[in-house]
Symmetry: C2
DNA sequence: CATAGTAGGTGAATATGTTAACAAAAATAA
DNA sequence: TTATTTTTGTTAACATATTCACCTACTATG
């Protein structure tokens, strides 16, 4: 919440959860130490990039040895706020929304979808595990009482901006937008687009127009 | 398919489908011309970036006028191969897989999921529109006869690499990987990861650690 | 036809990200 | 202990991407 003094490059920040997950696996499998080379093999990120990423947080490893798995794990847990769960709401319980509700984000993760909203009366009051679907009327009220900061938006594209305008008046900090709409938001709200059609289409473009110089993994 | 002479920066390539979709909207709404500033407002990409992106394809616009919508549209249609549909297969008809099957990619899009696969006998032979679910046994055979080049992978993480190894022996060119597994593939196959848990978690990290210097949209 | 205004294309500056290469330090082996 | 190997952390080179700022060409107007 506090404006951190230590600013990590965005590209690095995006890889942190990936590192965290893999370090967890290592720990669970009983491994004591790991080198940047091994990690690289597993997460498909260049080992120099991994060392550079880690080095933003100081000297986490030991020369000639590598990184201590348990130490790394506890360090990343702190960095990624794993102890404090971030509450998330999901708006739009359609096909994708439902899939995300059933997706167990909390596993290996500090985020949890705690409530959902839908305009369709038939979907209201449905339950997905311990998540209840509420009517759109109650949006502002519940977001406020639940103190929700992040919203996953999976509504139909034509209403995306309308819903966003309502969200803009709440205490929301970020919108993870799965709709194709490019949202207009006030500057205190951050938007991250995951546009599945664009992802698929640009992937196809890449495949058709670039000879395989090299295996490209990740973004 | 041919090793294109004209190589566009990857960052630009990823934005092309976005531009295309918006130009389509403009065209359908009867607009004749558009400036990079207007486009910028709509797709939330800096206008200079848009002009630079377009300029890789030559001079598409006219100074003092902007871009002709119809011309842009037909140009991008060609660029993005909109006339030839790319066949896609989906493997793993779980929650997310099902959502993607119901997602109408073909609308505004040159890609179509033509078949699906699942290991669960109960899901085999189900129909989603005109898409049939086949058993995993028939994977290689159907991918080959359907001449499929791109696969969407939505299987459970523990079997992702196993399925990938089978895919590696087919004529597949690309895997759109929605599983958390980081796949090992031969160099003739391209992988693009969309890791929803990582996306959510790194988004939360961003929100918590970066003061809102500016609204950040997109990747 | 002249003039004011608009808006694309692009060189140059800046910003961001990745990677090779290597010195230093620690681990390991002999 | 000493030599050898391993592996980090980091400098410097490189690669990619974004943005500014401006020139130029065209449009629109009177």
């Amino acid at each position: 919440m506090e404006t951190d003094q230590l600013i990590i490059p965005k590209a690095t920040a995006k890889r942190l959860p990936l590192y965290y997950r893999f370090i967890q696996n290592l720990y669970q499998s009983g491994k004591q130490r790991v080198s940047s080379a091994e990690l690289s093999e597993a997460v498909k990120v260049d080992s120099a990039t991994i060392r550079r990423d880690f080095s933003y947080f100081g000297a986490l490893g030991k020369k000639g040895y590598g990184y201590n798995v348990q130490y790394l794990l506890s360090f990343f847990r702190k960095i990624l706020n794993q102890d404090e769960i971030t509450k998330v709401a999901l708006i739009g319980v359609g096909n994708l929304g439902t899939a995300l509700l059933k997706y167990n984000f909390t596993k290996n993760n500090n985020t949890k979808i705690v409530c959902a909203f839908d305009a369709n009366q038939e979907k209201v009051d449905q339950k997905f595990g311990d998540i209840t679907v509420y009517p759109m009327d109650s949006l502002e009220q519940i977001l406020s009482t639940e103190e929700i900061q992040v919203v996953i938006l999976t509504v139909p594209a034509p209403v995306a901006q309308l819903v966003t305008d309502r969200l803009a008046k709440t205490g929301i900090k970020g919108i993870l937008n799965f709709t194709p709409a490019r949202l207009t938001v006030p500057s205190n709200i951050r938007v991250h687009h995951i546009d599945l059609a664009v992802e698929l289409q640009s992937f196809v473009y890449l495949i058709k127009h670039y000879s395989n110089e090299e295996v490209v993994v990740g973004d």
